[in-house]
Each structure stands twice: as structure tokens, then as C-alpha cells.
Amino acid sequence: MACKNCDSKAKLYKELDALIQEHKGSREALMPVMQGAQGLFGYLPKDVQILIAEGLDLKLSDVYGVATFYSQFTLEPQGENVISVCMGTACYVKGAQLVLDELKKELKVSEGKTTPDGKFTLNATRCLGACGLAPVMMINDEVYGRLSANMIPGIIAKY
């Protein structure tokens, strides 16, 4: 019986290959391709970066340079649930720091890191533009607004 995990992995690499072929040799397509690749894998492992570099006719250092320049790209696997606490000004003046501190305490994890069980990654993010609901955080695609620190344990328990 074929390994299920290997099958799905092979499928991802096939999709990546199709994405690269579509933009073969085009330097200006680098960011869209990297965004697509991160969408597939959740992060940009080294072998994926090598494939992109070869496909677009670039040096690996070009790809790595772009990957480390933009905060959206990550070289490490992310947790099952990604928490993004908005640190825009409107949220900050309404107490976003307290929310972030509470999450750190509750999850026992520092900013930008993933819990040892791989369940949560905690990020402080740039303005999400939902200033009317400040302070705001997102867990995956779900937005939680008008937060206070004491709401955090209850929200985390849902995941």
C-alpha cells in the first residue's frame, strides 16, 4: 500500500512544478510563485526554494533574499492554528499589548514561535485595517474584535 503522506506530498510538488512551469524563466514572477508555493506548503522549505530558483533561472540567494526580506514569507513550518494579534496603532492604544501578553502567558510561547505540540503559532502582525473593532486578532481566517485580556482563555479553548 502506498504511503498516504508521501502521496499528498508528491501531489504538492506536482502542483509546485506546474506553477513554476507557468512562469518559467520570468524573474518578475518570483513573488507570485513564492506566494503560491507558501500557499501549498505552508512555508518555504529549502528544497522548494531550490526548485523555484532553478525554474525561474535565478540564484538560490535571490530567492532566499526575497524570502527573508518580506515578513509574509516564512522558512519554518507554522502551527495548526496561526494567531495574529494586530499591533496597529489603533489596536495598540486600546490595549493590544495586554492581549498579546495574555496569549504568551496562556500558550507559554513567545512572539513568532510555535507551541511544542504544533497547535498554535503566535504572531504580532501589522495593522489588519479593522480599526473599528480594536483591539483585534485573527486566528486563521476568523477575526476576533473588541478584545480584552480576560477573553483570551475562552477563545483559545475553542481550538
Binding site: Y92, L133, G145
Partner: protein, 599 residues
């Protein structure tokens, strides 16, 4: 064409979407169908109404009933009462939309929040379905492009934009018509039209709302710009953090292509123009024009020295026109109504309107568009509804990390590009964050500097090193370790940075620090000399003290203190040795009598 007797407009902007407007749309559609009204009532998902504070917002026409903070469970009542029986559900209306004396509902223009606004860039937001090009066309959409392509020469278009006095809405306020003229005159076989939608200022969401509420206005304006400067290709560079805006833009581009309004031979005039959307990837510096162009080229978004200016050598080294979203959103109106109409609005040097995102400690959080020249006081207190919870206003911050804090004494200055610069702030893209007495200005300055340190691209030394040193000084001030001379050091470093940094990011980065020193020097001094945070925000400056009257001398605090700095004996209140205290808070947490306070 189908006609409906009532329209239910539900805000689908990010703010209302986040507070559940997606579910409301479904609930309305179900209830309307359930009551057999689906041939008579139409549900429309619109762009932002502006009053995000009371979202999700639902407005029902023809009455113009303005329902606020609508919940899914309210929908049944609204449909059965209002839509079926024609009785407006008054207890669900926005509080200011009912006339106190007569009990009648006010039209939207009479509501305080809207009364003093003038909507040009936001004209269609909250009025049309942004995903339906027919609605855009019905509201004068593509009339301006038709006029330009059939009646005007490129020179005439540029002259109109010049005469209107429109200045760049991205922050710096460069005259838009002049920019168009430079690009028009630049020599090159290929030219590009770009739209800067990399709205990175924290607390700013004007451009997002325009793209979500009226994407075709921007697309049409870019097409006009393409005709004016002689370009057939455009790019919109938009933040990846704005998924709804990206999706609506892409949808709008697709519809425009289907209608022959983008692509080859537009309106059969022989003019070709097409657009692509490019996503940013989370780098604030990419809002700077040369960095943005590098990013579109697929490189690290680092700025480069100017000249050469992008008008001559921009994207792929070709002549390039770059304007901000809100700037483009004014163009079609200027073409249709004429330069004189536009230049009659505003002040002598700042024409038209400006969109602001009101946020922070203000009652009416949301999006407002006001004529230039209105005073900050009017914006904050008349339109914005003042400060919540009876607190005192302390400062308003404009221009994000490039701007400054404006104190009470400057509330009566008119809002225009030059007045704001004269008081050490800047127009910026339009974020307007209000702070009250509970906010510490040193902490806010440190917050912006931290942002800049993270977002500095590192290419030039003044910005890379200077901002870091400034942040270190601010860090020690808020930690209670500030020393005499720190304020002067910040000023010296800040002024040096202004003069020597490579791009706009670094040159304006010291503004939040310099402006808070200018207007709130006493707060800095309190932190440094008295080791006290007047607003009670900076933890490093707070002290744990035992309230003698409440202390029962049980000794639990002393037992739990990890550094053994609490001493006392039976029947005598305990005391904390402030020199040894590490401010861990254990004592306060463990005290059974609430006898320890933090101040």
C-alpha cells in the same frame, strides 16, 4: 430590467465583515425568501459606510433607515416589520438617526457623523455593489473615460488634472497633474501606470475601503492615466493582508475586460490598456515608490536614490507614473465635473477632500471624507463624536510612523498639507489616531520607533543604525533608566536622520519622537527625572506599594517575594524595599486582602 421596491444595503467592508455581515446577508436572503418578498426586495452587499464603530451596518432604502450593530437574530424582526409591514424597527436604528423632537428618522446627510462630510473619493462606497459593473455604470461609471477617449487630447486631460490642484493623497502631497505631465513628456517606447495600494501605515484603511467599495473607480482612473501619458500597461500593488480588496479588484478587472473596458481597442477607439494585480508580502518600505517598483520586478523592496525619478526611469527602467488609490479615486469626478468644480473645494493650496481613518479613543471609529481646511476639532468632535467615557483628549496622531502627534493647543488648525507640516506632523495617507489621558506619549513614540526599526530595510546606515539607537534610548526611558541628556540625544539623532536617510521612510521616521518631545516634553522629563509615568502606562516606572490601612501583617507577600524585598512584623504593616523590587507582581497576586497597589 428588474425593479425592486426596497433595497437592503449591507456593508461588506472589512470592519463589518469581521463583525459578521456575511452571516447577515444570508439571514436577510433567507428571511426575505421565506416571506415571499424576493421579487420585491433586493439585498446588496456594498462597500464601507464609514461608521465602523457601530457595524455591522444595514441601510434600507427608500426610507434610508440606518440600522446599526445588527445581529443575525434581529433580521427576522426587520424583515417582518419593516419590509413586510412597512414599520421601521426604531429600537434597532442607529441612535443618532432619529430626530429627538419629532421621532421621525433623519436622512443620512443629517446624521452628525455624515453632516459635515463631503464624499468624492468615497462617492460610491455604501451605494453600489462593488462586484457588479452594471451598478458602477449606472452611477456614471466609465463616463469619464468615454469623455477622455472621444473628446479630449492627452494634453487636455493633463491640463484638467493640473488645474484641479489635486495633490498626491499618499502623504507627501506632490501635485498630481505635474507628475502626469513629467511622465507624458518622458521619452520611452514603453511606459507604466502604477497604483500604490500598499497601505502600510498602522491605523489607516482608506485605500482598502475604496478598493473594497468602488474598485472600478480606480481602474477607470488608471485607464485615463494610461491614455494621458501614453501607456498600455498598469499594475496595482496591493497588500496581501487585504484579501477582500484583492478579490474585488480581481473580479472588477475581469468584468472590465469582459465589457471591453480593459484590453485591446477600448471602446473601439484604438486605445489599448490592461492591468495586473501584484500582491505585496508585508514590507512597509514598499510603500516608497522606488522600493515598490523593485518589488514588482520580483526583487527585495529596497529604495534607491533619486534622481533618476520614476517619471523617467521607474519600473523596469521605463518611464512610470505612480499614484495612490485615493488620488486615482478623485480623477473621474474631476474629469466629469471639471477642474473648477474641484478647485472650489478646500483651501488655497490644498484642494478637494481628504479621507481619514478615525481610530483609537474616539466614539465614531471609522472612515470619513472631509473638505480640506476643516479644523481638527471639527473632525474629532463634530464628525468623530468626541472621546469616549468622559476622558480628556490628549493628542491626535496623523501620518502614521512618518507623522506626528498634535496636542490640544493645535486643535484649531485647518487640515491641509502645509498646516500639518508646519506643526511637525504631516497629512500622511490619512490615519488619524486619537489618544486620551490614559495614553503615554513616550510609550507611543517608542511604539512607532519599534515599528520603524523592524521595517527599516537596512540599506542606508542613518536609518538602519539611527532608528535603532533612538529606540534603545526610548526603551531605557520607559523602563525607568533614562538619564539626563537623553531628550537632547533623541533630538540630535532625529534631526540627523531627517537630513541623511536615503528615502522617505528614514527621513520621516523621527517625526513621532520629535513631535512628542516638542509638545509633551514634560512627560519625557517626568519619566527621566522623576521616574514617573504620568499616564500610568509604563510598567518599568510603576511601583508596588502596600496600603498600610488594609495590610493585616499576615506575611504572605513576604513569603512569596522571590527577591525577599518585603519585610515587616506582626501588627505592623509590611513594607516593600523599592530598590530591590523587581516588579514581578507576585505579592499583589498573592495578597488575600487586596492591600497591594500598583501605581
Amino acid at each position: 430590467m428588474e425593479t425592486f421596491r426596497s433595497h437592503v444595503m449591507i456593508c461588506g467592508g472589512t470592519g463589518c465583515h469581521s463583525s459578521g455581515s456575511g452571516d447577515l446577508i444570508k439571514a436577510f436572503e433567507e428571511q426575505i425568501k421565506g416571506n415571499g418578498l424576493d421579487k420585491e426586495v433586493k439585498v446588496v452587499r456594498t462597500g464601507c459606510f464609514g461608521l465602523c464603530e457601530v457595524g455591522p451596518i444595514v441601510v434600507i432604502y427608500p426610507e434610508g433607515a440606518f440600522y446599526s450593530r445588527v445581529k443575525a437574530e434581529d433580521v427576522k424582526e426587520i424583515v417582518e416589520e419593516h419590509l413586510l409591514k412597512g414599520r421601521i424597527v426604531k429600537h434597532l436604528l442607529y441612535h443618532d438617526s432619529i430626530n429627538e423632537n419629532s421621532g421621525d428618522i433623519k436622512s443620512l446627510n443629517e446624521v452628525n457623523f455624515y453632516k459635515k462630510q463631503k464624499r468624492i473619493a468615497l462617492k460610491n462606497c455604501g451605494i453600489i455593489d462593488p462586484e457588479n459593473i452594471d451598478e458602477y455604470l449606472a452611477f456614471d461609471g466609465y463616463k469619464a473615460l468615454t469623455k477622455v477617449l472621444t473628446e479630449m487630447t492627452p494634453e487636455e486631460v493633463i491640463k484638467t488634472v493640473k488645474d484641479s490642484g489635486l495633490r498626491g493623497r499618499g502623504g507627501a502631497g506632490f501635485p498630481t497633474g505635474l507628475k502626469w505631465d513629467f511622465c507624458y513628456k518622458a521619452k520611452g517606447d514603453k511606459k507604466y501606470v502604477l497604483c500604490n495600494a500598499d497601505e502600510g501605515d498602522p491605523g489607516a484603511f482608506m485605500d482598502r475601503s475604496v478598493l473594497e467599495g468602488d474598485p472600478l473607480a480606480v481602474i477607470e482612473a488608471m485607464t485615463i492615466a494610461g491614455y494621458a501619458i501614453g501607456s498600455d500597461q498598469g499594475f496595482i500593488y496591493v497588500r496581501a493582508e487585504y484579501p477582500i480588496a484583492v478579490q474585488r479588484l480581481q473580479h472588477a478587472i475581469k468584468q472590465a475586460r469582459e465589457y471591453g473596458l480593459l484590453g485591446k481597442n477600448i471602446l473601439e477607439t484604438g486605445f489599448d490598456f490592461d492591468l495586473e494585480v501584484r500582491l505585496g508580502a508585508g514590507a512597509f518600505v514598499c510603500g516608497e515608490e522606488t522600493a515598490l517598483m523593485r518589488s514588482i520586478e520580483g526583487k527585495r523592496g529596497e529604495p534607491r536614490p533619486r534622481p533618476p525619478f520614476p517619471a523617467n526611469q521607474g519600473l523596469f527602467e521605463k518611464p512610470t507614473l505612480l499614484n495612490n488609490v485615493e488620488t486615482y479615486a478623485n480623477i473621474t469626478q474631476i474629469i466629469l465635473n471639471g477642474a473648477d468644480w474641484f478647485s472650489a473645494i478646500g483651501t488655497e493650496k490644498s484642494k478637494g477632500t481628504k479621507v481619514f481613518a478615525l481610530g483609537g479613543k474616539i466614539n465614531n471609529t471609522g472612515l470619513v471624507e472631509i473638505p480640506m481646511g476643516m479644523t481638527l476639532r471639527e473632525v474629532l468632535f463634530d464628525v468623530g463624536g468626541g472621546i469616549p467615557n468622559g476622558k480628556k483628549f490628549k493628542a491626535a496622531q496623523t501620518g502614521g510612523p512618518s507623522g506626528g502627534c498634535i496636542p490640544t493647543s493645535k486643535l484649531d488648525i485647518p487640515i491641509d498639507y502645509d498646516s500639518l507640516v508646519s506643526i511637525g506632523s504631516m497629512m500622511g495617507s490619512g490615519g488619524l489616531i486619537v489618544m486620551d489621558e490614559d495614553n503615554c506619549m513616550v510609550d507611543i513614540a517608542r511604539f512607532f520607533m519599534e515599528f520603524i526599526v523592524e521595517e527599516s530595510c537596512g540599506k542606508c546606515a542613518p536609518c538602519r543604525i539611527g532608528t535603532k539607537r533612538m529606540k534603545e534610548i526610548l526603551d531605557r526611558i520607559v523602563a525607568g533608566k533614562g538619564v539626563e541628556g537623553d531628550i537632547e540625544k533623541l533630538e540630535e539623532l532625529g534631526n540627523m536622520l531627517k537630513e541623511s536617510a536615503l528615502c522617505g521612510l528614514g527621513q520621516t521616521a523621527p517625526n513621532p519622537v520629535l513631535s512628542t518631545i516638542r509638545y509633551f516634553r514634560d512627560e519625557y522629563e517626568a519619566h527621566i527625572k522623576d521616574k514617573r509615568c504620568p499616564a500610568g502606562v509604563c510598567k518599568g516606572l510603576m511601583r508596588y506599594t502596600i496600603i498600610a490601612d488594609k495590610c493585616k501583617s499576615c506575611g504572605i507577600c513576604a513569603k512569596n517575594c522571590p527577591v525577599s524585598c518585603i519585610s515587616g512584623e506582626k501588627k505592623v504593616p509590611y513594607v516593600i524595599d523599592q530598590d530591590k523590587c523587581i516588579k514581578c507582581g507576585q505579592c499583589m497576586e498573592k495578597c488575600p486582602f487586596g492591600a497591594i497597589e500598583l501605581k
